[in-house]
């Protein structure tokens, strides 16, 4: 059976070379090329490739993050990472037994990697990201949406709210359900989000005021959002002090 391959790399010569190597292998066909992680996710949702050849270092969303989002697809593709030089990532690939190729890629290694290419599980990828703390923080969170994955840029998010099994993400274009537990989000986005209540994390950059209603309950006002979120009394004072609200 012919393998359908999606090539992801921000550098044009790198994509061209992989395309040519794949053409020489037989038994596989390039279904598309993507220059960014976002493009890769869109194309993977539409074209359902069997394998994604993923560059690790890309501007904006890294290959490691894109692979984490890919794992949310109903039938996620297998991922083989490609990298020119990245001591951190290589160590992690070895530790997690994840396939990778070193650039410039050799044709025979590429063939072998495609044969062995395996789907990566979400937790495996999360552990992979955690190896390099500088890159463990995602630029987007992803919501499953039928066959597709919807990417939500982190700066566009107002708040996360725990919602039984799922977490609600309220963002500039509506709200979505994601599978990440609030606890994990709190740890990952500690620099950008703050817990204001047992079940809510708000975007620090959007905090504008703290209000108190007639009943004495405190609420936070978030820039661009009409909705008010309840704040525990203990945190209200702390927030006022810290952000001069």
């Amino acid at each position: 059976m012919t393998q359908r391959v999606l090539i992801v790399d921000d550098e044009l010569p790198a994509r061209e070379r992989l395309r040519r190597l794949l053409a020489g292998l037989g038994d596989c066909a390039v279904c598309a090329e993507a220059a960014t992680g976002q493009e890769c996710l869109r194309l993977a949702g539409e074209l359902h490739p069997d394998v994604v050849l993923m560059d690790v270092r890309m501007p904006g969303m890294t290959g490691l993050e894109a692979a984490r989002h890919l794992a949310l697809l109903p039938a996620p593709p297998a991922v083989v990472f490609t990298t020119a030089y990245d001591a951190h990532a290589l160590e992690a690939f070895e530790a997690q037994a994840i396939g990778y190729l070193l650039k410039p890629v050799r044709a025979e290694k590429l063939a072998a990697a495609l044969q062995r290419a395996a789907r990566l599980a979400g937790p495996q990828l999360a552990r992979l990201a955690a190896v390099d703390p500088a890159r463990a923080v995602r630029t987007h969170v992803a919501a499953r949406l039928g066959e597709q994955v919807r990417l939500i840029p982190v700066p566009e998010i107002y708040y996360f709210a725990a919602d039984q099994k799922y977490t609600t993400v309220r963002h500039q274009h509506g709200s979505d359900l994601i599978e990440d537990p609030l606890r994990a989000l709190e740890d990952e986005f500690a620099a950008q989000f703050l817990r204001v209540h047992r079940n809510a994390l708000v975007n620090i950059g959007r905090l504008t005021a703290i209000e108190r209603d007639a009943a004495g309950q405190y609420h936070v006002v978030l820039r661009g959002l009409d909705e008010r979120l309840a704040v525990s009394r203990r945190l209200a004072g702390e927030l006022r002090e810290r952000f001069h609200l």
Partner: protein, 375 residues
């Protein structure tokens, strides 16, 4: 995003204290330490012997002379050591000329005090007539004047000696650090392997460009491996930086734009090798590559009187993390090598200004006379 916490601030530059690249200071030994005090006692005793022998007195007077000279010199030596020990911290913070003058004045003050004490003891009856006779010089004013004169000469020589050895030690330290940093600042492996990948791709699609890229890469590595030539002309250095740009251009395409505004620079100026290329490399690695839309790097330079100013500007990455360790190593390395070539007359500054990262170099314009003919 936490805008409040991300307000652009000037980056902390390396601390200047303990930095061999700092301005020239008076480098005195630590006279508070037991080793230095012992050395003072030894030197003083030897000097007393030399002075006494030089007087060629009779055998009987020799021992008396020696005793009195070494007593006088011991008080002066230990007194001076005590004064310099107390002043040490303040002197270290002062400019070289002021610190030297104050150190010398301190020593002279000690000599004056000891001399006056000798005169006073000699004229008083405290020690009995025999001792008074020994301590009583023929003319008090000549005694004081001669002592101060000797103090100026010997003190001046000692200060000069301390300054020269301090400078020598500083230079050795600078060279060692520059060598270590040069090793660390070598072309990034990331760049090497990515370039190889680009060339592998071009060999089929555009063999002529692949050939050029291999030649460029060879020239770049030759320049990097050339440790012996600590200084080259600005023209050569800018050429290396342009070669570097050409290789990166193949890989990054339209995402990379470099604006060169260096036409006004004197191309024969002498600069340390690999002055500009690491700065351009940093600008591309941190400012252009992490941006999906790419960015513009501006290299500009001007001659201001007899000082050359060079500036490299690049946009900040979208994520906002600017000063990586690789960047700091490259800057420290450039600072040290400029300092070695132009001691005390160069500066390297790095700042975040708005959404740009700016590195400024300043160093004197010295023409490369050795290679002027060849140009």
């Amino acid at each position: 995003m936490a805008e409040a916490g991300r307000r652009p601030q000037p980056l902390r530059t390396d601390p200047q204290d303990r930095d061999p690249g700092a301005p020239h200071r008076l480098n005195l030994p630590d006279f508070c330490a037991a080793r230095a005090v012992l050395a003072v006692v030894l030197i003083v005793t030897l000097t007393a012997i030399v002075l006494t022998v030089a007087r060629q007195t009779s055998a009987l007077r020799f021992w008396l002379d020696l005793a009195r000279t070494s007593l006088f010199l011991l008080w002066t030596g230990l007194g001076s050591a005590a004064v310099l020990c107390l002043l040490r911290q303040r002197l270290a913070a002062m400019a070289l000329a002021a610190a030297s003058a104050i150190a010398l004045l301190g020593v002279l003050a000690v000599i004056a005090v000891v001399s006056v004490a000798v005169l006073w003891l000699g004229s008083s009856a405290l020690l009995g007539p025999r001792a008074a006779n020994l301590l009583q010089p023929e003319s008090p004013w000549r005694f004081l004047g001669a002592n101060l004169g000797i103090g100026v000469i010997v003190g001046g020589l000692a200060l000069r000696y301390f300054y020269v050895t301090g400078e020598w030690r500083r230079n050795v330290e600078l060279q060692a650090r520059a060598r270590v940093h040069a090793l660390q600042a070598r072309i990034r492996p990331h760049f090497l392997f990515n370039s190889m990948n680009t060339i592998a791709s071009l060999t089929r699609s555009d063999p002529a460009r692949a050939e050029e890229a291999v030649e460029d890469l060879a020239d770049l590595f030759r320049a990097n491996l050339n440790e012996q030539r600590s200084s080259i002309t600005l023209k050569e250095e800018l050429e290396v930086a342009r070669i570097y740009q050409r290789i990166e251009q193949l890989r990054l395409g339209e995402r990379l734009q470099v604006v060169w505004d260096v036409a006004d620079l004197p191309m024969r100026a002498l600069v340390p090798g690999l002055l500009m290329q690491p700065l351009l490399e940093n600008a591309i690695y941190h400012g252009v590559e992490p941006r999906a839309a790419g960015g513009i790097v501006t290299v500009s330079g001007a001659l201001d009187g007899d000082t050359i100013g060079l500036t490299v500007r690049n946009p900040l990455p979208e994520a906002g993390d600017a000063a990586h360790s690789g960047n700091r190593i490259a800057l420290a390395n450039i600072r040290e090598r400029l300092e070695l070539l132009y001691p005390g007359r160069s500066s390297v500054e790095a700042n975040r200004l708005g959404d740009e990262y700016i590195v400024r170099l300043r160093f004197p314009y010295v023409q490369d006379t050795a290679r002027t003919l060849a140009l």
